[in-house]
Amino acid sequence: MSLSFAIFTALCAIGVLALIFGLVLGFAAVKFKVQGDPLVEQIDEILPQTQCGQCGYPGCKPYAEAIANGDDINKCPPGGEATIKKLADLMGVEAKSLDAAHGTEDVKKVAFIREAECIGCTKCIQACPVDAILGAAKQMHTVITDECTGCDLCVAPCPVDCIDMVPVPQSTASWRWDIDKSIPIKQVK
């Protein structure tokens, strides 16, 4: 009698506990629900957002999703070695060198339309992934330099080849102190 009672009470107690924990877990699942895949977001944060498609995916977000699903991390030429290093840190994998099949690292460039030659076909506007080209049909187009990511996608569609990719000129704001050059501060003791 006492044994069966003990078993009964134990089962009851465990059942009640299970119910409580179940409720807590269920509540937590609703309360602390994570929207989307945080890993994809983190990878997307690291990618340079040029949206150039050199990785073979239609934009940075799709490539971030592909990396999260196990794709290689060395397919992003605009990001270069720095991005690969950060992705390797995040994903816990070995940093590889950039896959040459997808392009090589280059200086930062922006598109420039030779406006005298533009015929106003709007093809580049449709190609621009970040809406950085301004213009209308049969009107001259121009690039909003500040918004241009230098993805190169507008160059190929141009029927008159009037788009150049020009390197971003260095200014005093973007200048880095050069450690190898002469060191400005001399010790005057």
Binding site: Q49, I119, V130, I185, V188
Partner: protein, 752 residues
């Protein structure tokens, strides 16, 4: 708590001060240059005034090349609060506005206004504000901003931002410490212009209402201390404090710590601890701006070092090339192993790359060291002695920062508070391995800043990309929905009617309806654009919109006629009710359109929405017609008055009208001819290029062809010619591109 206001004031009165961590005691070398009065520099022939000389944003250039300017005339302006204008430092002519080597360690060219001085130094009429106490504070701050004053101690922060604070200011500290070796510009300024500096302090006090004013001067400048004490005798609230000589006691955060024992938080401002600090040079400039109305067009520059024979201080107009200062101080380049000039002091300055670098608002010193002074030894490995940590005034760990900066571990360097480094150079000064530590920090800092900028840009690009993707999806959905509805309508029509002829009619009707709706929309838009009350104005835009309306009416009429014909035919063939109904409404509609805009009564009630729309269309057409009539009438009147002001002969008027229109037609014809000719030329060029299989288009021959054919046909205006050349070139290019593509495709095909 020992750093509340009253305690601090009591301690200051007893001349009890605090200390900051670390610091070094380099040889002062001040006596080299502080023996003589500040000399007025003779005007240099050319002045190079950089558009941006402070921290913030530059203004818009408001002068043009070739323009004559007077001394003190503003050269830029901006409504941005972080912009500070620049002024012409002397009278003369603006030679050019373009790139010139900048007073920046990189020496990269920056936008600079080059002025050729006329040696007359004529001032713009000045407007002093002597009664500043009666003026509103905003006006005084505005006057200081318009005088182009930014911090003259070194950083160049816009002064009007600092004095525009609304927070409670306990201490106004006037920084006359000048702790860096060799520099004596503030020292001389205090000795000679203490009175004006005090006036500047008065203005700042009026604006900031500080509880206490402290004028801090290092002990190694007894003359300056005395001069300032005399000048401030009258005002008991001003306290001149001499502080121990130690580098970098003149750093903003260090000086606050010495005087008040308060620490400015990381990433914070002095105002967060109730302190505002201004350099004595800034006070002098404020006094100049308020009491004589002079903008900041010159400053005191120390030219010193072993390689100059007569070191001293000079009043140098902003924009003076440093080579001019070299000459004045008798620079002896033989004393140096290799030419070297440092802008700023030996601890924090930078080598200048070119002798034409201009003096800017923050240039306090040009140092020309001789071979003995400028000894550079090779960098060796860090031996972890910790001497740098002992002297760091910001309490950082320089060797840790060095490791991380060298190893490009930028986030770790930030964890060690890299951005709290004030780049004073004390660590590099004591380093037994001669490691240029500050230089490593500067590299790391600029890299981090660039990375942050790129991050901001990437975020913006991501946002734009996502917005665009969303827009494209929405557009696609809208298109799909439209197609689906159209398909449904077709299906409905098919199921409603029995035989195929009827189906076709129904489909045609649906299409016609859709078109009509579209035109109705367009018309109502056009109707809005030419509101009736504007009809009387005879403007070009209205005329063009009128033309558009006319065109729209013409189109609508043509369509309607076509539809009616089709309907009549179908009526005679089939005895179906629906199409008859619609044709009824159509005919009624057209009648109404011809008569007046009052439609609703005469229309059939069965097909209400369609009728409503038609009524609107009719009304719009009637309105447009009325407007057109009015317009024509006006035009006639206008022609009357212009062509024949005395006598309005209708026949003559008609004649002129006809001849005018004939002229226009002839012109149009000529233009058309030319265009056709150009097109033919282009086509010829294309054919030529295609036949000769020359993949790359020869631009020159194409252009020549075009030109020849054009000459043959007609004489052209030059603009049109150029345009055509461009078009021809563009077409040729496009063609070449296509040909290349075809060729490559062909080869691929051949391969396959």
């Amino acid at each position: 708590m020992d750093n509340n206001f009253d305690d601090i004031v009591k301690k200051l009165e007893n001349n009890e001060l605090w200390d900051f961590h670390g610091g070094v005691f380099p040889a002062e070398q001040k006596t080299l240059s502080n023996q003589n009065l500040i000399a007025q520099l003779p005007l240099s022939k050319y002045l190079y005034v950089p558009v941006k000389q402070h921290i913030g944003v530059e203004g818009q250039v408001i002068v043009s090349e070739g323009q004559a300017v007077l001394k003190g005339e503003p050269l830029t302006q901006s409504s941005n609060p972080f912009a500070v204008p620049i002024h012409a430092p002397s009278s003369g002519k603006i030679l050019s506005i373009g790139e010139h080597v900048s007073a920046h360690p990189s020496g990269l060219p920056e936008l600079t206004i080059k002025i050729e001085t006329d040696q007359q130094d004529r001032w713009l009429p000045l407007t002093p504000m002597v009664d500043y106490q009666k003026q509103s504070k905003m006006d005084v701050i505005g006057a200081i901003c318009n005088a182009g004053i930014s911090g003259m101690g070194g950083a160049g922060f816009p002064t009007h931002i600092k004095i525009g604070t609304t927070k409670q200011v306990e201490f106004l500290i006037i920084n006359g410490v000048e702790c860096e070796p060799y520099i004596t510009s503030d020292d001389r300024l205090m000795r000679e212009h203490a009175w004006q500096i005090r006036q500047g302090i008065d203005v700042l006090c009026h604006l900031l209402n500080p509880k206490c004013v402290v004028i801090a001067i290092e002990k190694n400048k007894p003359e300056a201390i005395e001069a300032m004490e005399v000048a401030c005798k009258e005002n008991s609230n001003y306290q001149v404090v001499d502080i121990p000589t130690k580098y970098p006691a003149g750093g903003e955060k260090q000086l606050i710590q010495v005087l008040t024992n308060r620490e400015v938080p990381a990433k914070g401002l002095p105002i967060d601890v109730g302190v505002i600090m201004h350099n004595v040079g800034t006070c002098f400039a404020v006094s100049d701006a308020i009491f004589s109305g002079k903008p900041l067009v010159q400053r005191v520059v120390t030219v010193t070092g072993g390689a100059v024979e007569t070191p001293g201080n000079f009043w140098a107009p902003i924009g003076t090339p440093v080579s001019h200062l070299f000459n004045e101080a008798n620079y002896n380049s033989k004393a140096q192993k290799q030419p070297q000039a440092i802008m700023g002091g030996p601890m924090m300055g930078f080598s200048i790359t070119d002798e034409s670098v201009p003096v800017v608002k923050t240039t306090n010193c040009i140092l020309l060291p001789d071979a003995k002074e400028s000894q550079t030894r090779k960098e060796q490995a860090c031996i972890r002695c910790g001497a740098c940590a002992d002297v760091c005034p910001a309490n950082l760990l320089p060797q840790q920062l060095f490791w991380h900066a060298k190893g490009k571990e930028l986030d770790k360097a930030q964890d060690y508070n890299l951005f709290d480094c004030i780049e004073c150079g004390a660590c590099a000064y004591v380093c037994p391995s001669d490691i240029p530590l500050v230089h490593y920090y500067r590299v790391a800092k600029s890299e981090i800043k660039l990375e942050q900028d790129e991050k901001v840009k990437a975020d913006k690009a991501r946002e734009r990309f996502e917005k665009r993707a969303a827009r494209l999806i929405a557009e696609q959905e809208a298109r799909d929905e439209k197609h689906r509805l159209a398909a449904e309508a077709r299906k409905q029509a098919m199921s409603d009617s029995g035989n195929t002829a009827k189906d076709k009619i129904a489909a045609a009707l649906a299409r016609a309806k859709a078109k009509k709706e579209a035109t109705a929309k367009g018309m109502s838009n056009a109707d809005e654009s030419i509101a009736p009350h504007k009809a009387n104005e005879n403007s070009g835009t209205k005329a063009s919109s009128n033309e558009r309306v006319q065109a729209a009416i013409a189109r609508a009429k043509a369509k309607k006629e076509a539809a009616q014909k089709a309907l009549q035919q179908t009526e005679s063939k089939t005895a179906n009710l629906e199409p008859t109904e619609i044709s009824d409404t159509d005919s009624a509609d057209s009648k109404v359109m011809l008569q007046d805009a009052d439609v609703a009564d005469t229309l059939d009630n069965k097909d209400k929405p369609a009728i409503d729309k038609k009524a609107k269309v009719a009304a719009a057409i009637a309105k447009a017609k009325a407007k057109k009539l009015a317009q024509q009438r006006e035009e006639k009147e206008a022609e009357n008055s212009i062509g024949y002001p005395d006598n309005a002969n209708s026949a003559v008027e008609k004649n002129t009208k006809e001849t005018q229109s004939d002229d226009i037609q002839a012109e149009n014809l000529a233009l058309k001819k030319q265009r056709v000719a150009a097109a033919v030329a282009k086509a010829k060029a294309k054919k030529l290029a295609a036949n000769s299989d020359q993949v790359i288009a020869d631009d020159v021959t194409t252009k020549q062809d075009t030109l020849q054919s054009l000459d043959k046909d007609n004489k052209e205006s030059q603009g049109l010619d150029q345009k055509k050349q461009r078009i021809a070139a563009a077409v040729a290019k496009a063609k070449a591109k296509k040909a290349a593509k075809d060729a490559s495709q062909k080869t691929e095909d051949d391969k396959s």
